[in-house]
Symmetry: C2
Subunit: 704 residues, 2 copies
């Protein structure tokens, strides 16, 4: 068999294997018991709320997506596209179909991941009645089911549409036809992340402000009408939202790398199609490495869960390096410069996890500084949190710069084509591939987060013994860490993937340079930076408004039915879920339109080069602001947890715990961080990739 056939077998083989793996994980989880009838009742309510939200969200997104597909098709049909070298109407239909395929695949994978997650929570809670290790196994496997399904669908989706569009015989144009797939995926990801992020924080802030602060009842108390909405929210934000985010990162990376691979392939006399397939091959190998990584997590009953997850990641990373080595020999004729590029990517992924841990874990200076500052009140807590958030842009920016710079340098040393720039950028593509080899494992750790969070809620609401709650609390703390780590990983990989897409855009728009010294280009860049701030502002305000709706509803229920507070009457959870749903869907529209509309308007007025600057400066600013929002928020969260755990001491060496003014100050910071880290920050990851894909697809409009 030729290499090409073997690669295809590997790509689809690993993809199908990952789907089977996901199904077996799901089956394992579903085979577990659902605990007491009370536990099952709580879980069923969460399940219903989640499904109700998802159905409405995806219905809304689907109708916006179909309209957008028609608009894109119409534009391409009218304007045509040089790079596709096809009649306008045919290019239009193919792009529109790719867009819808990307949107559908992203939507389906988010939906299924959610389904498994909301089935896993109660089973994790039930397992926690036996042991911590058992609960870890159930929750991680529930997360893995969703994660592998998502990543497998992303890799196979890109590969399938590449083959369907005859990419093998006409590699010059196929990648440009399939960018629609990336745009569709990021389109859905934007709305899923925005809607999910608004939903989860509206419910969380609303539940906390009325429940904990006004009514004085604990978190996850069944008397709080917003409690189910809060638990549903954890799933729609961290599970469906981040799933769509990383689906899109993987798709964007594969598409960007294929476009660059085609350039090298053509420049080297159509000698080795491996340049085009490398990213899919590495993706397939990463899937296999991640599967083994997940299976290697076999905690004993009393082991440290974070340690077990870290060991699993180490296994995945080592296997990825081996996979990279094999691929270098097999696909790239043993070019060790490119092996170096891939290694840079894997190291970058590890560094991002370490940096995120440093800035958000209670063990290190940043979180301890914020906790210390809480002693002098909420103002100093906020000031030091923002200072930490601003500071934490430095290391990741240096790491991204070093990664891109080193990979580029290694790439130029390959000397594949005469164009040293293309060689160098292909090096950064390989680094991105390396970084994303571990994506399925990281995503499994991420979805593990909302499952354990929900499990804690189920335990609390079904009045389980203290020791069970302690076990789910321990898992929940680990879940908070893995969620923060995934955000760090997501922003790092978004940065690298966006860099690839720039290069693809430059080639698509036939631009030689993006000269910031030209006035329209400078203005485009400046507006790109501004877009990030305005978009974040809209996302944060959306949470404020939606939380306001929720607060009024909870107050109304408490007022109209005194039996709720006495515990004799069940609150109307469904109504609160409905309020969050409506508010989230309403509020996600304006920032979504801004994100898609602004590059189009700037492109129409200031043309292709200015859009490139908008894209690039918008991406730089977006990465920096996302780091501020994600890790600032994460640090506030853990500063509060540090105080709650009694690790902060007063002048006399006694622990300062809950109920103190210091704790109250830390709660303020935590609440401020909520919309930062769970709504605006993650939405910026998606914004970055959306800007790249929308401009790639509409490039023909800006160059005519």
């Amino acid at each position: 068999m030729s290499n090409e056939v073997l690669w295809a077998i590997l790509i689809f083989g690993a993809g199908i294997l990952a789907v089977i793996f996901a199904l077996s994980m799901a089956r394992y989880v579903l085979s577990r018991d659902t605990g007491t009838p009370e536990m099952k009742a709580v879980a069923d309510t969460i399940y219903e709320g989640a499904i109700a939200y998802l159905n409405r969200q995806y219905t809304t997104i689907a109708s916006i997506a179909v309209i957008t597909a028609i608009i894109i098709g119409a534009i391409i049909a009218l304007v045509g596209s040089e790079t596709m070298d096809l009649p306008g109407p045919q290019a239009a239909i193919m792009t529109a179909i790719a867009f819808l395929a990307g949107a559908l695949a992203s939507g389906v994978s988010g939906y299924i991941a959610m389904l498994v997650a909301v089935k896993s929570n109660v089973r994790t809670a039930a397992a926690a009645r036996r042991s911590l290790g058992d609960a870890l196994l159930v929750s991680l496997r529930g997360g893995a089911a969703g994660a592998f399904f998502i990543i497998a669908l992303s890799i196979m989706g890109v590969a399938a549409i590449f083959y369907a569009y005859n990419g093998f015989n006409q590699p010059e144009r196929a990648p440009f036809l399939i960018v629609g797939f990336g745009f569709g995926a990021s389109f859905v990801a934007l709305f899923a992340q925005l809607g999910g992020g608004i939903y989860t924080k509206a419910a969380d802030v609303g539940a906390d402000l009325v429940g904990k602060v006004e009514a004085g009842i604990p978190e996850d108390d069944p008397r709080n009408p917003a409690v189910i909405a809060d638990l549903v929210g954890d799933n729609v934000g961290d599970c469906a939202g981040r799933g769509a985010d990383l689906f899109e990162s993987t798709a964007a990376e594969n598409i960007g790398a294929m476009i660059l691979g085609v350039s090298i392939f053509l420049a080297t006399g159509r000698d080795n199609p491996g340049f085009i397939f490398l990213s899919l091959v590495l993706g397939a190998m990463g899937l296999i490495a991640s599967m083994i990584g997940v299976l290697s997590v076999r905690p004993s009953a009393n082991a440290d869960p974070m340690g077990a997850l870290n060991r699993g990641f180490a296994v995945t990373a080592v296997l990825s390096i081996i996979g990279l080595f094999i691929a270098t020999l097999w696909v790239l004729d043993g070019n060790w410069w490119l092996f170096g590029c891939g290694l840079v990517g894997i190291i970058t992924s590890i560094l991002f996890l370490l940096m995120t841990q440093y800035y958000t874990s209670e063990k290190y200076r940043p979180v301890r500084t914020i906790a210390e500052a809480s002693k002098t009140g909420p103002a100093t807590n906020i000031i030091s949190g923002i200072a930490i958030g601003f500071e934490n842009t430095a290391l990741p920016a240096i790491v991204i710069s070093l990664a891109i710079g080193t990979a580029y340098f290694f790439g130029t040393r390959t000397g594949f084509s005469d164009n040293s720039f293309v060689n160098g950028v292909y090096g950064t593509a390989v680094a991105t591939m390396g970084m994303l080899m571990t994506v399925a494992y990281v995503l499994a750790m991420d979805i593990f987060g909302p499952i354990t969070d929900n499990a804690g809620g189920v335990v609390e609401m079904s009045n389980q013994p203290e020791e069970v709650r302690e076990r789910t609390d321990a898992l929940d703390a680990v879940g908070n860490t893995t969620k923060a780590l995934t955000k760090g990983y997501a922003i790092g990989s978004a940065a690298l993937a966006a860099f690839l897409l720039f290069s693809a855009y430059l080639s698509d728009a036939r631009l030689e340079a993006v000269n910031l010294a030209r006035v329209p280009v400078f203005i485009g860049g400046f507006l790109g930076g501004m877009l990030v701030f305005l978009f974040s502002s809209l996302a944060i305000r959306a949470v404020g408004r939606a939380a306001g709706d929720m607060i009024e509803e909870v107050r109304r229920q408490f007022r109209s039915e005194p039996g709720i507070m006495q515990g004799t009457v069940r609150p109307n959870y469904a109504k609160a879920v409905d309020i969050s749903t409506r508010a989230a869907l309403r509020e996600m529209v304006l920032p979504g339109i801004l994100a898609v509309g602004m590059p189009v308007v700037v492109g129409l007025i200031l043309r292709a080069e200015a859009v490139a600057a908008l894209l690039m400066v918008g991406t730089m600013t977006g990465i920096l602001v996302a780091l501020v929002l994600n890790n600032g928020g994460g640090a506030w969260d853990n500063a509060k947890k540090l105080i709650e755990s009694g690790q902060l001491l007063d002048e006399e060496g006694k622990p300062i715990g809950k109920g103190t003014a210091t704790h109250a100050a830390a709660v303020v910071g935590d609440t401020v961080g909520d919309p930062f880290k769970d709504t605006a920050g993650p939405s910026l990851h998606v914004l970055i990739k959306l800007l790249s894909t929308v401009t790639l697809v509409l490039a023909p409009l800006f160059i005519r």
Copy 2:
């Protein structure tokens, strides 16, 4: 007489006239009575603290500046400079002297402005015993004395060194020799603004947290040991700091415009030297317009002070337009496209004042939203303040984009030289000139701020009757507005001036393009964006640490001397002043080194084009973050004031005032905003210009 001679007469004539005007304003203020002996005693203490701080600050800055001058000289002597076309050692000495001249002029002007301000405060307080109008007159004239001295020195300084370096006969190289003047000025401005900003907020936050919160005594209470340091701080931050900032904006604008003017002059066959002199001529005309504007402020006893100041600004703006008209006919042979550019600048200055007013005045939605959000506690106050801060980047970014775009377009229409780019950029230079014609008036309004603030402190500490305090309170409220407006104006003009300096750098570094698609250039840009966040983080943390020192000192005094709280023992004000001074000088070093060092390091490693990107993306990000910090902080401040004034109503329509939980929440936002709007934000204005000037001066190092 030739036009050239007439222009020189106008420039130095207007400059000397402005100095005489400043002296007569100072004499007017000094001739006024100093009130009761108690008032004089308070004022003397402020005076001593201010002078003690300034002496130490400028001693520190002077020694750093001399070392820097030697380093710059050594670099240029070794590396040489093509653009200067002089032997290395000669270019080195001339640049080093220009640097020291700029540093000295900036230092002297800041010092003198402070001197007048700390003499004006007690006289304003004394005048307030008679009438509001009289107090307004004294404080505005005290501000005008400093402002006109600063701006006159800036214009004459640039002109003098231009003539001294034989610019008239060798216009090709003189502007490149005088960029050292701009670098010297921004170097001093950075440390003055950083040091002043840290000083003022350390004292303010320290005084508030221990005095108001812990000890429960009112603001400006004489029992608070930090109260004098707080009053001194208002002067060193808003007066010396912003004075150095606008000194530098004016100098940078003139130097940048002269460099571009030389390009046009040479390209048009050395026909009209007016291209070189236009900015100085317009500066001189602006000085005259501003003098008349200040003199036109003649409030009656009970008039609205803000209205009086606004009318004065309107007079200045109208006279500036007339001056622009005359200059167009006289200097530019009636080129109406350039008149249009200047008009764009004047309109931009007005728009910036309006936008800042919208975002920081209690009359409009933004501040009202924050006040409303305070009802649900400090967390929602902070969230909505940050959302407003992020949002408020949008309009200014659009206005700056439109201003640069329109002025550039008008410039290209002049067709002066064959190089359409140079023509266009010269158009933006003329817009910057237009914007800065009103600078002396705006700066007078700004220095008015700390004078009225101090006057209120003097009144409070000397136990004057309630009606006097009411008058100074009214003036203080106006002063808060003018300070916020000046910051808006400063950021707008910094943006335009930086744009000129980019173009000068490109010409100096012989760069054709700043191509963001090149990897080192992209990395340079990304690190430029990061620099803004890291620098802001250091500035904010510096305030936190310095405030911590102050808090401990105030607590120590209260503990060791119980008589202080009983009012029987005078607290040790000098010790508190000393603490602030030491802390500010210690903390300003690290961010200062970062600001100067990072462009140099990037330039040495990644070369000239990457530095250009660092400069440009750093400037874009700097403008955006400065807007967030300045206006976010201003909005929080006024949301608190809105609540204090009883304008916020509860559900039953009753006013929510001081002492409520809502007010406490608003105080949190106000405290958070303090280091944002008075330390980090204003320091970013200076950072932007420093980046431009340091790279301009060291360009030879990056191109070899």
